[in-house]
């Protein structure tokens, strides 16, 4: 199968859906001629013109609100917020409007808005340009949240998102855009929301990993397999809806759970996943759940310090040995 980068896979998803559906409109800061800060939308302005590919001013709240307005008029808006760190400027529009309109209007309004954003952890961008806080959005009823970890998932999930009728926060990982390539079929496919993917099968221990950490978990699993430890790696792919069955089934098999995510540990996405499993599958656990997450400090700029801040496959291996009682 041909290989695409993560960024190319996303671009292809947008392009195909724009070709298919004239109601798809994309907008955001520098997404036109510049092609987006990370070149995901490169070439789309030339192909689809300025009516459907709109460069906006630096106005995050207006970008999201504008998208909501388009959405309730029957369009399929895709907003790009350049860095996840800037979403808080628009959070009022997301929290009070996009996520609740369908409910508040008694089902009259639909908000098929996609907000694409990315987190830049690992690029020495400092405390205001590297943050990752998916749990904030898991806490909002009415908002769907997707976090693809591979080019295949990126394309399939984005295409699904574009066809859904609810608001979706689509969180990409900057480190993967151009560094990660992977197989993406030429033919049409989509990936349903709420269906976790077992990225590697195993029987000794389950690792649930999010976004970039899926790759660290896979490296850890490979290294552990050399020691005869057989690890299952699960990527939930969407946090809302959340596929707890796949994880519970895995825990039933392995009895052990590690959760790996780039966000802070306290009140993070791992807290919620651990709580779900503790609540619904505690009888299957042979050991306490371990979370491998970022420390609860702002992200330091200094490249060496940022490296220490970031969890890696080594941290996962350490956790695995601990959960297996080897240390």
């Amino acid at each position: 199968m041909r290989e695409l980068s993560y960024a190319e896979a996303l671009r292809e998803a947008i392009r195909e859906e724009m070709l298919k559906n004239p109601k798809v409109i994309i907008f955001g800061e520098d997404i036109g001629k510049y092609g987006g800060a990370y070149k995901v939308t490169k070439g789309l302005l030339e192909e689809f013109g300025p009516e459907r590919v709109i460069d906006t001013p630096i106005s995050e709240a207006a970008i999201v609100g504008f998208g909501i307005g388009l959405a309730i008029m029957g369009f399929k808006p895709i907003a790009e917020i350049m860095y996840m760190d800037f979403i808080p400027i628009a959070i009022e529009q997301i929290l009070n409007h996009a996520a609740k309109m369908h409910f508040m209007s008694g089902g009259q309004l639909k908000v098929p808005l996609i907000i694409r954003t990315q987190y830049s952890l690992g690029r020495a961008h400092g405390s205001q340009h590297s943050q990752f806080f998916p749990s904030w959005f898991m806490n909002i009823p009415g908002l769907l949240v997707a976090l693809p970890s591979t080019p295949y998932d990126a394309k399939g999930l984005l295409k699904t998102a574009i066809r859904l009728e609810d608001p979706v926060l689509f969180i990409e990982c900057c480190l993967l855009y151009h560094r990660l390539k992977g197989p993406v079929p030429e033919e049409e496919y989509t990936i349903p929301f709420g269906k976790a993917d077992i990225k590697r099968e195993g029987k000794d221990l389950t690792i649930v990993a999010i976004s970039r950490m899926v790759h660290e978990a896979l490296i850890a699993a490979e290294k552990l397999s050399e020691e005869g430890i057989n690890v299952e790696v699960i990527d939930p792919r969407t946090l809302n809806p959340f596929d707890k069955e796949t994880i519970i089934n895995s825990v039933k098999k392995t009895g052990r759970l590690i959760i790996a995510s780039d966000d802070h540990k306290r009140a993070g996405v791992s807290s919620e996943i651990a709580a779900i499993i503790a609540e619904e599958a505690i009888d299957y656990l042979d050991a306490p759940i371990i979370r491998v997450c970022s420390p609860d400090i702002p992200i330091p700029f200094s490249p060496q310090l940022e490296k220490k801040f970031m969890r890696s496959n080594e941290d996962i291996i350490f956790a695995a040995k601990k959960i297996l009682g080897e240390i």
């Binding site: 800061e29 520098d30 036109g32 001629k33 510049y34 800060a37 460069d55 001013p57 630096i58 106005s59 995050e60 709240a61 207006a62 760190d85 800037f86 400027i89 690029r123 020495a124 961008h125 400092g126 405390s127 205001q128 340009h129 420390p295 609860d296 400090i297 702002p298 330091p300 700029f301 200094s302 490249p303 060496q304 310090l305 220490k308 801040f309």
Partner: protein, 341 residues
């Protein structure tokens, strides 16, 4: 009251604006320091590969940094943004600390924890804060100004941001509050024509930023050639005088040009080549140096010496940075809160 257009200072006016020969030489030194610092930083990123992360160089912004900050008193406060190398150096933060911050070292202005976009923080020098979130420093400056006002503190605040920032909510909410609360803040919009790839001519609905501010928020507004250091100095002097005396905010729109890309890696292919070439003719560093020589403020020989000293100082700053340690990781926890919990 109307929008006030500021022309450059004439030589005869130097005295009345407090510009002694020494002061002018000091400003020239600063502007050369900034230029040479930025050239070196560019090299450290692109040629030597010693620096990584984002860095927004201020080629073209030297006259606004030096002109405006030189018009302030030393104790006055500035708030900067992501493009703050020039502001930091103009405010008197030692180049070695600015450089060490870019290297992520403990000897940097923020102990290496914040990097280029926050390099202009040194509270002992009155560089209070740098925000990498566009225009978010504006409402904060209003609060700082209000604090000074109710403390009967005579200092004032200068808040720097770009043209792109004028389209944010923080800008509009901040200026409105500044106006109704009558805070001693000078807002400095460095209109370098671009917010990343987007020209302000496209992004702005108003006729000009100055009109938007003047008619929208009733703030005294000055428009000035931001490539001319003596003009920005004059505008700042007038704005400062007004703000200190009337205890009301003022606004300076410095019309200038971002002579290079948005960030150090950006080749700025989205803009016409001739446009940049035209603006390079107005290079503030070149123009000011030439003018100071023509007006006999400085001799060619002195200028050469200054340049050599600056080069030496920057090389030392790089050495200093390379020799410095990084902050101990475990100690970072102690910086999250000021108390222990």
């Amino acid at each position: 009251m109307s929008i006030i257009k500021i022309e450059t200072l004439k030589k005869e006016e130097y005295d009345s604006y407090g510009l002694s020969k020494e002061k002018l030489k000091g400003m020239l030194k600063k502007i050369l320091l900034i230029r040479y610092f930025e050239e070196k930083v560019e090299e450290l990123f692109l040629v030597k590969g010693l620096l990584i992360g984002p860095a927004h160089l201020c080629f073209g912004g030297e006259a606004s940094a030096v002109g405006i900050i030189s018009a302030l008193n030393e104790e006055d406060i500035i708030l900067s943004n992501h493009r703050g190398h020039g502001h930091a150096l103009a405010k008197g933060i030692p180049p070695k600390n600015v450089m060490a911050e870019l290297f992520g070292k403990i000897t940097g202005t923020c102990k290496g924890l914040s990097g280029s976009m926050h390099v202009c923080i040194d509270i002992n020098k009155g560089a209070l804060y740098s925000s990498a979130i566009v225009a978010s420093n504006i409402p904060i400056a209003v609060g700082v100004g209000y604090a000074l006002k109710i403390m009967n503190d005579n200092r004032i605040v200068a808040c720097f941001f770009g043209d792109g920032g004028t389209n944010t909510g923080a800008f509009h909410e901040g200026l409105n509050m500044a106006s109704i609360l009558k805070v001693p803040v000078i807002f400095v919009c460095e209109n370098n024509q671009y917010g990343m790839s987007i020209p302000i001519s496209y992004a702005l609905a108003a006729k000009s930023i100055a009109e938007r501010v003047y008619y929208g928020y009733g703030i005294k507004t000055y428009v000035v050639d931001g490539m001319d250091v003596l003009a920005t100095y004059k505008a700042a002097k007038l704005a400062i005088e007004y703000t200190r005396k009337e205890k009301k905010p003022s606004f300076i729109e410095a019309i200038m040009y971002r002579l290079k890309g948005h960030g150090v890696y950006d080749k700025a292919e989205y803009r016409p080549k001739e446009e940049a070439e035209e603006w390079w003719e107005k290079d503030p560093v070149k123009l000011f140096s030439e003018r100071m020589i023509n007006e006999n403020i400085i001799s060619e020989k002195e200028l050469k010496e200054i340049n050599e000293n600056i080069k030496k100082e920057i090389e030392e700053a790089i050495d200093f940075s390379l020799r410095s340690d990084i902050f101990p990781f475990d100690e970072l926890y102690k910086l999250v809160y000021s108390g222990e919990y």
